[in-house]
């Protein structure tokens, strides 16, 4: 049997050196809630498991320039129990709360959710809508990348060999802005999104939408940023008409597969419905109604 190494470096330099130097497949172990299942099913056979939970930046939640920086290996439960995070980013919180059971959230991280690159990952559309920026460290140094540019397709990322996603920066919250995430699953919990929709919008003093980002999950090979859907909101008062146009644009952007979790038609229709409902919640939050 092939030997599987385990290493738990205490700093980024050691982590990157280990990742770069691995002879075969190396896998980053944060919460392990996807990785351990893949290993058990024989789908991945890493030569090196790199446990990154000992690296300070990857485990901390800090205010930064009016925004929030949180480590890629911070567990979902730590995030949803963090008062500032929950208050500032209710939509991202909604999404993080939906990642599995309490038990799974006790281990799972947003970094893992992003790097696992499942098109149905719950946190990703919310993070994309929020405009989250990932901070990546590799042999060549540090670089910043919008979250929507990390997944390349199911199970594939744009990270190069030796690169490690270290933390995320959620930008400063504009006044009169709000975000929301909704997903559809047949059960209330313990399910994978059939469709997910994240909306983040900002209003001016008159209640007109000045900025919006809309992202959809599980309707394509990776989570989509849908500017056409956002365009339906911008310049409107997010009234019924605008919401209807948003829904249509969201549905039009879908290119889903049919699988055990839902048909194509179902996903296309639901994307519109959920985008509309998420926008309504984001609107209420922007108006200060929760």
């Amino acid at each position: 049997m092939s030997e599987m190494r385990y290493a738990a470096p205490a700093n980024l330099e050691d982590a990157v050196a280990l990742l770069s130097g691995a002879n075969g497949a190396a896998r980053v172990l944060a919460g392990g809630t996807d990785l351990l299942i893949q290993m058990r099913g024989g789908r991945v056979k890493p030569e090196l498991l790199l446990d990154v939970k000992g690296i300070a930046e990857m485990r901390s939640i800090l205010a930064e320039n009016g925004g929030i920086r949180f480590g890629a290996a911070v567990s979902c439960m730590e995030l949803v129990e963090h008062a500032l995070f929950v208050q500032t980013w209710p939509g991202v919180t909604d999404a993080v709360k939906l990642i599995g059971s309490v038990q799974v959230k006790g281990r799972a991280s947003v970094g893992g959710n992003v790097c696992n690159a499942s098109p149905a990952a719950d946190s990703v559309p919310a993070m994309i809508a929020a405009g989250a920026i990932a901070s990546i460290v590799g042999p060549g140094g540090r670089r910043e990348l919008p979250v929507e540019d990390i997944a390349a397709g199911p199970g594939k990322t744009t990270l190069a060999k030796g690169e490690l996603l270290v933390s995320f920066l959620l930008p400063r919250r504009a006044p009169r802005s709000g975000d929301a995430y909704l997903r559809f699953t047949p059960r209330t919990e313990m399910d994978i999104a059939v469709v997910g929709a994240g909306v983040n919008l900002t209003l001016d003093a008159q209640g007109v939408c000045t900025q919006a980002r809309v992202s959809l999950g599980a309707v394509a090979e990776r989570a989509l940023l849908v500017p056409e859907a956002a365009a339906a909101l911008i310049g409107s008062k997010v009234d019924a008409d605008a919401l209807k146009r948003l829904g249509a644009a969201a549905s039009a952007a879908c290119r889903p597969i049919a699988d055990k979790r839902g048909t194509r038609e179902f996903r296309i229709k639901l994307a519109g419905v959920l985008a509309r409902r998420a926008a309504q919640i984001a609107l209420d939050r922007a108006r200060g109604k929760n």
Binding site: R187, M190, I192, K260
Partner: protein, 760 residues
Amino acid sequence: MDMKTTKPEEKAFKVVGTRPVRPDGVPKVTGQARYGADFALPGMLWGSILRSPHAHARIRAIDTSKAAALPGVKAVITSADFPEQEYEFIGPERVAVNFWHMTRNVMAREKVLYEGHAVAAVAATTRAIADAALELIEVDYAPLPHVIDVDAAMRPDAPLLFEDMITRGIEPPPAKPSNISKRIEFGIGDLAAGFAAADAIVEMDFTTAPVHQGYIEPHACLARFDNKGQGELWSASQGHFVVRAFTAKLLNMNIGDVLVHPAEIGGGFGGKTVIYVEPLAAALSRRSGHPVKIMMSREDVFKSTGPTSGASMTVKIGARKDGSIVAAEGLFKFQAGAFPGSPVMNATMCGFAPYNIPNVRSVGYDVVCNRPKSAAYRAPGSPISAFAVESVMDAVAAKIDMDPLKFRLLNACKTGTPTVWGPKHAHDGYAETLQALLAHPAYKAPLGKNQGRGVASGFWFNNGGESSATVHVNEDGTVVVATGSMDIGGSRASMAIMAAETLGIEYEAVRAIVADTASIGFTHVTGGSRVTFATGIAVVEACNKVIAELRARAAMIWKIEAADVAWESGCAKPAGAAAGKFEPMPLKAIAAKRALTGGPIGAEASVNAGGAAPGFASELCDVEVDPETGAVKILRFVVAQDVGRAIHPSYVEGQLHGGVVQGIGWALNEEYIYDDAGHLTNAGFLDYRIPVASDLPMIEAVLVEVPNPNHPYGVKGAGEVNIVPAMAAVANAINSAVGRRLTDLPMSPPKVLAAIDAGC
């Protein structure tokens, strides 16, 4: 809120009907109870099973030499290590066992018949080595075309699982082989005349998906077998005597040479009345000379153990304007899985059983296909036909503009009503469940937008049969009850309650255990809602023998005739003034004198219990449907079931709650999803969606007690019939909410949404 309706004239019991803590409770809340996977022995090896990646393929050759050579591997087995069995159906119809089939199901021989079919097994010093060895076994498969669904499997051009299978039950037998294992028909009256007299007729087609029992404990066992032809098994099953019989037969051993210890069982619901891993662990142990443990993975459980059948059905019911049903006809086609033996016969018998229908016919087909062989699941067959029949009942009631509960009540069977299979019903109980719902406040509660209410009913036989029990009086006057019934949901408590009631002593003075196969007489499986009924009768009979002995001992002490001693409230008493004047002598005092009066006091009783009374359940379900997503939320669910008598009402309520929730899962989300290659794509708890706590409201149980005169405390059996009406109740509620009748299970959101959109 849970409720109970009992006829007022019933006599009061002291212990029956109370809710004491179960004897096996503390070990189960402290993690000390030992289940199938929790046993270990010195020198134990780990067994692992190689399974087919193909839905259907011929096995050309298996080369195990590389696996056997891996350091740490102690034994490798294939079907060649099991003796061939005769091709014959042994025993009663529905449960006929064909060991030629069974040995092929536990280990494929000529062909693999489903993805996950076992083809070889390895025992090694660690789990990791055993798993690595599997990858070194080379199987040369010749893939064959496969067939999954029942209608496809019945087509003349379908790929055949067995090239020589001739349908049984057709005279003269068909000339050509097919996948149809058996045809079954029951009927009474004149169907054509009946339908001719109807004012309203509804006929509809239905399909249901196979669903898994979904017990949380994967199959597991530990085997210690030696070359001298004896062995022991620690196994979590619904019947250790059945495990013993099947394992001995497949290994060509004497039954007496196999000892099976009852592990605690982590759920079964019918799925653990058969064997999978036990003969493999035993063969590996015999070959290696070491104890061997096998634990299935959850994926193995889904891919290779019994779901219940998926089905394709047509049901037609005709009624007069006054509400009387005049005729009914049902066609029920069931997937048996890879080997014959679906529960279609039960489906044909149970579907129309709740109703007084003068002209009725049921036809069933048992059809093999490339899926795991179906196994019993909670009232096997009845929930499937009830989904069709109770949906059509709802439609007929609507057509003649009658309240659906009153329509059922008008046609409800009672003692003397003829059945489709011939004899007349011998028990009441159905009408009482309908009356309980009619009287329930939920039936008149208002509904909001997109909300709907559905009702449905169900019938299940409840079983009797062979059971054994011993009752021993200890030196201090406490009592030990042992039975051969695996305890799957609190039966040790109900046995202790019945013993305490019969003996007239405190519940706390009685302890109940499950004995191994060498320590008690044959006892049939814990299934068919039979344990509290049949094993309960054995316990009460053994107690009565003990009472006779206690009276004799008291008589000896008092120097009077045993016939002059009565037993009352746990004490021997003189039977009337003529018998003499003695203070009542409690059981404890007699026990203290046991040596002086003849030695230990105890008795065994073994019975073949007949006169089991059927179970009826009627259910009410309120749903809210999201018209934009097709999501169905269960708002309220009331189940009224005739249980005869609730010995331990908490555990009886638990059966009702649990059965209903399984039915809700079956109705809304549970299904086997195959890809084009015949691979199961949702073999895990993530995508095989059993209900979670947040999906559900509190289920409201109404225990209706119409006692069974054939049981000393009136027990009818409570475990199964609660699941029977559930899917139709949900379907009828969805129809009431959105005006769309869903006829394909599961009624998952894409289907509900498609039905809503199709009507817009």
